[in-house]
Symmetry: C2
Subunit: 405 residues, 2 copies
């Protein structure tokens, strides 16, 4: 009988621990085929330093339930990129550790970069006749993975964005004086999450009046013109922008303010296009201007978790376990949306090599012609993903968050 | 039979509309003594321009229920200060309008400045034998009104702060690398809301490890020292600061940023104290630093509404109506906490002249000696105020927010 190991990698989401819950629960259901259920601490990076726990020993049944509504990565995360060269000594080192722990099933919950890890490990295993079955479980608020209808984590983040934008819009409309409120939403290259702000609109003409995604070049002059047009029919304007909006030359608007770093994957560290635009509008229009950066709350709010998203995240985890037991490896769990009527999904498996290091952006036909609004097709796509409120276990007036002792 | 009029003033909260609900509901209960229930649009400023609505005509019973979980000010708000000189012509103008509408009862939901309006109107009424009874209903997330145990609006904002700080702390702890996360919380002069971040702590030594209120001077050198000490036992530090922290000379830390950055147009990039401290720490310690400004979400989040707060806000509204019917005027509704055991409040009336233009700060004995933490007495005080989750009417996956047609 083999053991199972699971890890979390990349940025956390509100439901990445629901996927962990799904893996653990299914692992416990398959006791006749799976012995221990291990968790890597800080992903593959921690595992290389022999950091792992036995999850059944660690978690009481109460804490296991709390996992479902606990944001962050219960096991800790990493941003560790395995070498491209599969003859690098890190690979035999890793598999020696897997074999020492009698690992038969390896699950990695993550986004693009994590699927790169799944791809490399499964390719190494195939070429070295290692028997560990390796499956990726998708996770990202950005919804930018290819070959899946959507990703676990997106629905909850979209619900946070939609409810926050609605509430900021209500808050910003209490005074008579003209105002602009600029809301900066996560998304470097794909505007899925910013597009979700359209779900905040309660009636035609309601805020947000302008929505800018990174899929369409952003021009400062057009922006001022768009605001002036919008002021003709409305006093309090809410504008939603992706953090990654850029001009037609590809320069990020946040870079206009002069600062930009680079993270360990070579991505530009982006902050502050909302703040930059706030100052810009203040200097050009004589109105009250405020900017709000939704920031990390987008990916870690328990109260705005989408029940649909949490359930699907858990199903993705349990499906990965049954897929591995069925003999699959080198795959990622993928969501396929059922045909109308009604909304539901089925889990399928896709080749992880076809997924990693690719990015799915918002189709241009879902962005209206002038690049300032979102089409109804997106609303039809996204609305089912934010449905339902979870039952949150409470303690001392706050969610009872699971944590490692 | 007389009519009732109600207005909202100052910054909105998550439960200011619960107080409005309480006024309307109690007004409807008293149909034998109250005829119409009017709402001023944009407070006293809008009323001076004859902007008001009949609330029973405006609100369906469904929308009336939705009011309880709708943030912002349903009636709109204003920041209009009545003249100090009670012989100013605005006063007879206002009372002429009251009389034309046959107003017998005037209710104003607001904070410090709004109680100033209540004080002036009631003093004018007394000296001119006007029969309108004028009652203030407290409201502020800042919890800085005197002569009341706490204010409606604080409990929900405190719950938002506590849950967000807990979740940001979880999010910030997923990687092994040392990090500092600075969370900027509302509160210019009083640190009540920042103090509520202590409620996020799940166990001794948990984040937030440092909490700075405006009641104690903030020194940059001490701050760096505090961080270095905290790093001795913890890798991921969460620090909570009030927006109004200032040095011993009274200069706000956010004002330091005036010298810090200039954008490409040569305009000053003004930021909050959190962003300033982020850059300061980046430049002095070799660790990852992030800042999060909780911003307006603190006062307008439906999902983190405290049921205790919402109910009390509604009771404050209904108490105001019965108090006016009982012949009271020139008063503010005040909360008196019951003696132990258990938590409950009673509503009493206090002289509004004793309340307006004063500010209640956090007692220094509730701030621990070195000015970086909060004492248990505050936790005992604040914990009951964040209890309970409301039943939120939902529509299309989001709260069904009430709005004016």
């Amino acid at each position: 009988m083999k053991n199972l190991i699971v890890g979390q990698s990349g940025g956390p989401t509100a439901v990445i621990n629901s996927s962990l819950f799904g893996v653990i629960k299914e692992g416990m259901n398959q006791k006749e085929r799976i012995d221990h259920i291990y968790g890597m601490i800080n992903g593959i990076e921690g595992f290389l330093k022999d950091r792992y726990i036995d999850l059944e020993e660690e978690l009481t049944s109460e804490q296991l339930q709390c996992l479902r509504t606990t944001p962050g990565a219960f096991l800790g995360s990493c941003r560790y990129k395995l070498p491209e060269d599969l003859s690098d000594p890190v690979y035999p080192k890793l598999f020696k550790k897997f074999n020492a722990l009698n690992i038969g099933y390896f699950f990695y919950i993550g986004g693009n970069d994590s699927m790169d890890t799944v791809s490399k490990l499964s390719r190494y295993a195939a070429s070295h006749r290692e028997s560990v079955r390796i499956i990726g479980i998708p996770k990202t608020i950005d919804n930018d993975l290819v070959m899946t209808d959507h990703t676990p984590g997106f629905g909850s983040a979209a619900k946070y964005v939609a409810s926050s934008v609605a509430e900021i819009g209500i808050d910003a409309s209490v005074y008579e004086a003209k105002s602009v409120t600029i809301i900066e939403i996560m998304g470097r290259h794909a505007g899925w999450l910013t597009a979700a702000s359209v779900l905040a609109r309660k009636f035609k003409g309601d805020n947000p009046v302008l929505i800018y995604l990174p899929e369409v070049p952003f021009e400062m002059d057009h922006f001022l013109h768009d605001l002036e047009e919008a002021f003709k029919t409305k006093n309090n304007l809410v504008v939603c922008v992706s953090e990654g909006i850029h001009d037609k030359d590809g320069t990020f608007i946040c870079e206009y303010s002069g600062e930009a770093g680079v993270d360990t994957f070579g991505h530009k560290m982006l902050t502050g296009c909302g703040k930059y635009l706030e100052n810009y509008v203040k200097n050009h229009l004589k109105v009250k201007v405020r900017s709000v950066e939704l920031n990390v709350n987008q990916r870690c709010s328990t109260f705005t978790q989408s029940l649909t998203d949490a359930r699907e995240a858990s199903i993705a985890g349990s499906s990965a376990v049954t897929a591995a037991l069925d003999g699959n490896t080198g795959k990622m769990v993928s969501f396929v949306r059922d045909k109308e009527p009604g909304y539901d999904i089925s889990c399928e498996l896709v080749d992880v090599n076809e997924v990693c290091n690719k990015e799915k952006t918002v189709p241009l036909e879902w962005i209206t012609k002038d690049g300032t609004d979102i089409a109804d097709d997106f609303i039809t796509y996204a609305r089912p993903l934010i449905q339902g409120n979870p039952a949150i276990p409470m303690k001392n007036g706050l969610p009872n968050y699971a944590y490692r002792k």
